[in-house]
């Protein structure tokens, strides 16, 4: 296979909140007042190849948005590295922020929050490329008009303010803004989640067209399994900060291997299946502040055994191009000799 253009290598991201003065004082008597650490990402490795759309799926708190932000260079990883063409993406002191981070562009969920309400859309689109000198100043206006047409808006809309657009149109503007930087990788974080179904279809069609025309490489972060299936080539399933399964989309949907993936698919309501029982997953997602030891899914897993409670399962091969992090795929859930 060709070399990956984006390499996410053993990335972990922890957020630590220091206790306030009062909490520290109270803590002297109660034993609390310690720093609180959220383990948003634990040891995530992924490769993204040129021209592919990689889906990142999971429920809230699974770290999918944090992963997107680390890839976009907004957060630096606590450990591990993200490299684009073997160059680190993360901010470096006095360093590459002006060059590399422009190569990865992010599209956010809420087009009402991600556009400056006081800035004309044309200005919003021109600001990035002008600042970074991506498009010669003389050509910026023509480029903006071209971009607007590309995302299915009229060139004349450049003089409008965001409030004059509907939600779907704003998301088109957000996509145009990302494309204005001529990025190599797009990160779409729940980019169609807040849109109505009929508008969502329009934006998905636009994304698929652009992808085809421009050969985009993208991380498509979403909680919506049917949308991901529609636009992604490969899908990574995350749970509680860890990657639990990675597979080509068609294979994953035909035959999910990880018990969490299976349970997730079973709880998703689908149109036209008629009345049925929802096969609910037991229990709730544990807190990433104090993740369970061993496999993060073991408290809810119907197959969990003693080994799952102590040993974190690594990613192991499960067919061509597929990996899964589950002891069932790696010698079983019983304790093996010599292990803890």
């Amino acid at each position: 296979m060709t070399n990956p253009i984006l390499n996410i290598d053993a990335v972990s991201k922890r957020f630590t909140r220091m206790p306030s003065l009062t909490e520290r004082l109270v803590g002297k008597f109660t034993g609390g007042g310690k720093p609180v650490t959220v383990h948003a990402l634990s040891d995530v490795s992924l490769q993204v190849f040129k021209g592919e759309v990689l889906g990142i799926v999971g429920e809230s708190g699974c770290g999918k948005s944090t992963l997107g932000r680390v890839v976009a260079g907004i957060h630096a990883p606590s450990s591990g590295s993200v490299t684009l063409h073997r160059m680190p993406v993360a901010r470096q002191r006095g360093g590459n922020i002006h060059k590399l981070t422009t190569r990865v562009q992010m599209i956010h969920q809420d087009p009402f929050a991600s556009l400056n309400p006081r800035m004309k859309v044309g200005e919003t689109l021109a600001e990035g490329p002008r600042h970074h000198g991506i498009i010669p100043a003389a050509d910026v206006q023509a480029a903006i008009r071209d971009l607007l047409r590309k995302v299915g808006l009229e060139a004349a809309y450049a003089d409008r303010l965001p409030h004059q657009f509907s939600g779907g149109q704003r998301q088109r503007v957000a996509i145009a803004r990302a494309l204005a930087m001529q990025p190599e990788v797009l990160v779409l974080d729940e980019a169609v989640a807040s849109l109505d179904v009929s508008i969502q279809a329009q934006v998905l069609n636009l994304f698929m067209d652009l992808r085809h025309d421009l050969g985009l490489t993208a991380l498509f972060i979403s909680h919506d399994l049917s949308v991901v299936r529609h636009v992604c080539d490969r899908v990574a399933i995350m749970y509680l900060g860890r990657l639990v399964e990675l597979a080509p989309a068609d294979q994953l949907y035909a035959d999910p291997k990880h018990p969490y993936t299976q349970a997730l698919f079973a709880s998703v309501p689908t149109v036209g299946t008629g009345r049925r029982r929802f096969e609910a997953i037991r229990g709730e997602i544990p807190s990433p502040i104090d993740p369970p030891p061993g496999c993060p899914f073991h408290p809810r897993c119907p197959h969990a055994g003693p080994r799952c409670r102590v040993e974190v399962p690594g990613l192991t091969g499960a067919g061509p191009g597929r990996t899964v992090a589950c002891h069932l795929n790696d010698g079983g859930v019983q304790m093996t000799k010599g292990a803890a």
Binding site: D196, A201, A249, S267, V268, P269, R277, E284, I285
Partner: protein, 321 residues
């Protein structure tokens, strides 16, 4: 059998600077005890305002201008404010998208639930607590006695929504109206709650109106479905009828836009344009500008076409496949 909820010709208008806006336009539907009605629509279709109008929760500049809302045969619109307040929570209750809208953040779950019990039924505090504990148990909350002592912020989002549903259940109402009640939750938690809701309707005989934008949820949860567009119910039928054989071009368009119904990577059929502004509705059928079948005839009010109980508001209803 009398319907638990019978809404007839409900119309709600808002007085705005841009003129009259009819957010709910002549809406009629009925829900039998133990059945779940899915009220589906996109943003701005009037589905939530319909829910609020049923409970008489419309404030100025809005006003319910016409129609009847019969709960167990009693018309809520004919009641005085005091009598209506006695019905709310006891006969009809509501579950909102954000459980923090329902829960008081500074009161323990048990205290506020007991309060809600005692408002309608005089009983001792300990009896009210016991009643609340049973309600928590019904919605599948583990160790309900402990949860009574918790504050809302100590519970997860899914737990809070269960508490909100438990509060709606306290007086075994005839009707529960749930407005996007699982939209903010993760799919695995949503699955758990939908299973509980289905069980509740089956075992307690409560009629449920499930308001949502999510066709997938209603298609697997609801018995009947009403599709709203621009304040009107444009199609009404059983879940099978509406999902498997939609007769309104809008319903068909909505179902076609769902990615899961198409081969991955294919272009999705899309409804052109966006939902109309209620203050600038076109004459005749409001869906006309986006409809592939529209003709000159559609500038006139569309007729109601009913076949096998499936009602559709359209000049050119689709034939069932």
């Amino acid at each position: 059998m009398t319907a638990a909820l019978d809404v007839r010709g409900l119309t709600t208008r808002f007085e705005t600077r841009a003129g009259h806006v009819t957010a709910v336009n002549d809406v009629s539907f009925a829900v039998q005890p133990g059945r779940i009605l899915g009220l589906v629509g996109e943003s701005g279709s009037g589905k939530s305002v319909t829910g609020f109008s049923i409970l008489g929760l419309i404030d100025a500049p809005g006003k319910v201008t016409a129609g009847a809302v019969l709960v167990d045969g009693v018309d809520l619109r004919q009641l005085s404010d005091d009598d209506l307040r006695k019905m709310r929570g006891r006969k009809v209750s509501m579950v909102f998208q954000d459980p923090m809208m329902t829960l008081n953040p500074v009161l323990r779950v048990g205290d506020q639930m007991a309060m809600a019990v005692r408002v309608h039924r005089p009983m001792s505090k300990s009896a009210a607590f016991e009643h609340a504990r049973k309600a928590l148990e019904v919605v599948g909350i583990p160790s309900p006695a402990e949860r009574l002592l918790a504050y809302p912020h100590q519970l997860s989002g899914g737990m809070r929504q269960r508490v909100a549903i438990a509060m709606a259940l306290l007086h075994s109402p005839s009707v529960i109206i749930a407005d996007e009640a699982t939209t903010a939750l993760d799919v695995s938690i949503q699955g758990q709650i939908l299973a509980e809701v289905r069980g509740l309707a089956d075992t307690t005989g409560t009629a449920i109106v499930w308001i949502t934008h999510d066709l997938a949820v209603v298609s697997s949860l609801a018995d009947d479905i009403c599709v709203m567009y621009a304040g009107q119910i444009v199609e009404r039928g059983t879940a099978e009828q509406v999902i498997d054989g939609p007769r309104h071009p809008y319903t068909r368009g909505l179902l076609d836009s769902i990615p899961a119904r198409h081969e991955p990577g294919r272009k999705l059929p899309q409804i052109p344009g966006s939902t109309p502004q209620l203050s600038h509705l076109p004459s005749g059928c409001p869906f006309r500008p986006r409809c592939p079948l529209a003709t000159e005839l559609c500038t006139t009010e569309p007729p109601l076409d009913i076949r096998d109980g499936q009602a559709v508001l359209c000049h050119y209803p689709l034939e069932r496949a």
